[in-house]
């Protein structure tokens, strides 16, 4: 779907981000400006910024792709991403703000008065951030590949450069404005096209989305296989074109693809006839549109375990994401932090109504993506496929621009918070210069990682980052805020007991091919066993080491829980809060 308009849209988004960033350069002067926007941000700005930052590649393209391929089980992604904010609101929003922490390691130190707890939290925050950046870059590669045909690494490189330069120039003050603007851009970019697409679907006769038939090619379709792919054909189909099937070279002649599994060589290009049932990748289940629309249709092993693990990871992981936490500091007080979070819940609820509709329409209009495996592209391809002529092209451009905005904003937020952690805890370089060096490092590491990662769906990768956050930093926050019995040793043990297995499982799934071993789901969805492990170890070890309760814990609890306006900061202890 190479389209001039889409390229223009991507360029406009990238340039716009840089322009707003440069404007920020003139207003941000001090170190405090760089890190937290001097806390002059109102709840609506703040909530839009959180929304803009949070709606990542996974939300914009990933969710629709997964629903398109695997059905309603995947609806737990948008639900979990939103419900995570309810958990954040009810359990940590106000106390986290009142702790006065810039970053998660700051919170760890403020609560436990220990450099070691801080160090462990820093390493975990870095790992989670990088794990989360990787799918953003991969999504950017996919988008540029879909709209321009450029190789996948180009998109990743473009996003890294734009984000790094922007953050180095403006810091977080400009980022807050960029992010707030990006939420509304993303909402527009996903809502306007779907309205037109639904109208188009109605005009085409509103074909049922859940017929008991396999998805069929809506028209004669030419398909290029960019990787070697194993597909399963439901019926034999007569195809034409050039390429390799099951090791046999086919040159520009007709070929009958019998039903069953076939290996299609890289670079093959075939034309499939109109009305033929679409073969699908071997990793997907044999679903008609009717069975696809039912729960437990994804064909994964242990679907119930998978669903619960996903629920636990997304519900509890949100609070442990480094770029989400840093936003709470820009609220003036705990009450504003709560209100901001409530607005975020509303903003996310509106956005997440859209992706499932793209996924469902994709079954009718872009079923060949089930065969090539590029299911994440369904949002990008649908507009040009469903609406002919310039209208479709413009809508396609809007979606591409929105998707690019999603990669830019999430990556910016992550790079800012990771740079904060790097400069304060790892490199120990203060000031604006330290922040800039850290920014470079924060962007380059995940860029390097994109070259070795296996191509797994972006929403699944993001799910892994959530799982690590839920197993390590979530227990630290929840137990640290609500129990005064947690000890330094308990905190460290709990973070490691939950975080290390989750991280290992994530890395193994991302960088090796586990195939369909029975334990595969335990590694790709680790949260259901690592989260209870982290919580239990943290609490039990704390009870066993009660002599190591951090000093002044009562005073810390006053600071975390008492409303600010009462002047309850411990006896006359001066505080940097302004």
């Amino acid at each position: 779907m190479t389209s001039g308009y889409a390229i223009v849209a991507v360029l406009v988004v990238a340039l716009g981000a840089i322009l707003v960033g440069t404007y920020g350069l003139r207003v941000s002067r001090t170190t405090s400006d760089f890190y937290v926007a001097s806390r002059t941000v109102s709840p609506w700005w703040n909530a839009s910024a959180i929304g803009g930052e949070y709606l990542s590649a996974a939300s914009f393209v990933g969710i629709a792709g997964l629903i398109f391929a695997y059905g309603p089980d995947m609806l737990w992604f948008p639900v979990g991403y939103t419900a995570g904010y309810l958990v954040l609101l009810t359990m940590v929003a106000a106390p986290l703000r009142r702790s006065g922490a810039y970053t998660l390691p700051d919170f760890a130190e403020a609560r436990f008065r220990s450099r070691v707890v801080r160090g462990v939290a820093s390493v975990l925050a870095l790992a989670i951030g990088w794990l989360y950046l990787l799918p953003q870059l991969q999504g950017a590669g996919l988008t540029l590949n879909t709209v321009t045909g450029a190789p996948n690494w180009v998109g990743a490189l473009v996003v890294t450069v734009v984000v790094t330069v922007n953050v180095m120039a403006g810091g977080m003050r400009s980022i807050t404005f960029v992010q707030a603007f990006q939420y509304w851009l993303k909402l527009t970019a996903i809502t306007v096209p779907i309205v037109f697409l639904i109208v188009a679907w109605q005009v085409h006769g509103a074909k049922s989305l859940t017929e008991p038939k396999y998805p069929v090619f809506p028209a004669e379709t030419r398909v290029t296989f960019s990787h070697q792919t194993v597909i399963h054909a439901e019926q034999s189909i007569f195809i034409e074109g050039t390429g390799e099937i099951d090791g046999t070279r086919v040159e520009n002649v007709g070929f009958t693809l019998t039903d069953g599994y076939h290996r299609i060589g890289q670079g093959s290009e075939f034309t499939f006839p109109e009305g033929a049932p679409v073969p699908h990748m071997s990793t997907m289940d044999h679903n008609t549109n009717e069975t696809w629309s039912l729960p437990m249709s994804s064909g994964a092993d242990f679907p119930l375990y998978g669903a619960y693990s996903l629920i636990i990871a997304t519900f509890l992981g949100t609070m442990g994401l480094p770029h989400v936490i840093v936003r709470f500091y820009t609220n003036p007080n705990g009450t504003a932090a709560r209100r901001t979070t409530l607005i975020v819940l509303g903003l996310l609820s509106v956005f997440y109504l859209m992706p499932p509709m793209y996924g469902a329409l994709g079954r009718l209009y872009t079923p060949e993506l089930l065969m090539t495996g590029q299911t994440d592209a369904v949002v990008l391809v649908l507009p040009t496929r469903m609406i002919e002529g310039i209208g479709g092209q413009l809508l396609g451009a809007l979606v591409a621009g929105g998707a690019f905005a999603a990669f830019l904003s999430t990556s910016s937020g992550l790079v800012v918070s990771l740079a904060g952690v790097l400069s304060q805890d790892v490199l120990r370089l203060g000031g604006v210069r330290g922040f800039r060096i850290s920014t470079m490092l924060a962007g380059l590491v995940p860029l390097a990682m994109t070259f070795v990662a296996t191509g797994m769906p972006v929403a699944d990768m993001v799910g892994l980052a959530f799982a690590v956050a839920a197993s390590s930093l979530c227990p630290l926050l929840m137990l640290g805020i609500w129990s005064s019995r947690i000890t330094t040793i308990g905190a460290i043990a709990g973070m490691l007991a939950g975080g290390v297995p989750a991280l290992t499982a994530g890395l193994v799934t991302m960088f090796t091919d586990t195939g369909d071993a029975w334990y595969e789901v335990l590694l790709s969805r680790p949260a259901a066993w690592t989260v209870p492990l982290g919580f239990t170890v943290m609490y039990v070890v704390s009870l066993l080491t009660q002599r190591h309760v951090p000093p002044g814990v009562q005073r810390t609890m006053v600071k975390l829980h008492a409303p600010e306006n009462l002047g309850l900061d411990g006896a006359g202890a001066s505080d940097e809060r302004s």
Partner: protein, 130 residues
């Protein structure tokens, strides 16, 4: 500029009525704020009450909402026929997860914010009372 009148020596006053109880009331004039800042036993009780109230509120809102969502996969696994029920033209899982969940989450969030702010107001009244 007017110079303030020279401070007069305060009149000596003597309490002529005795308190009705025999117990000493020495700490009575302290406000809750001061109790907390000086980390007295009473201050700790004030704080523990606030933290317990907020923890109970947060956990109940969280558990009720997440619990309601959490039983859905189990229900769909126990009775697959539920997945075929249609509500407003959508399959039941689609209706619940795409449409019904979000207003419920918002409502729960709004309720929590209202209650949490109320309990903080009550706490403020309690500790600021002289």
């Amino acid at each position: 500029m007017t110079t303030p009148p020279p401070p007069q020596k305060p009149t000596q006053r003597v309490v002529v009525t005795s308190p009705r109880t025999r117990a000493p009331r020495a700490r009575r004039p302290y406000s809750g704020t001061r109790e907390i800042n000086e980390q007295s036993e009473l201050g700790a009780v004030y704080m523990r009450t606030l933290i317990r109230a907020q923890r109970r509120l947060g956990l109940s809102v969280c558990l009720v909402t997440c619990g309601a969502l959490g039983v859905l996969p189990l229900l769909f696994a126990i009775d697959p026929e539920l997945g075929k029920v249609r509500v407003l033209g959508l399959g039941l899982p689609w209706f619940l997860l795409c449409v019904a969940t979000f207003p419920m989450l918002l409502l729960a969030g709004w309720f929590y914010v209202r209650q949490a702010e109320r309990s903080e107001r009550e706490f403020a009244e309690l500790v600021e009372r002289p």
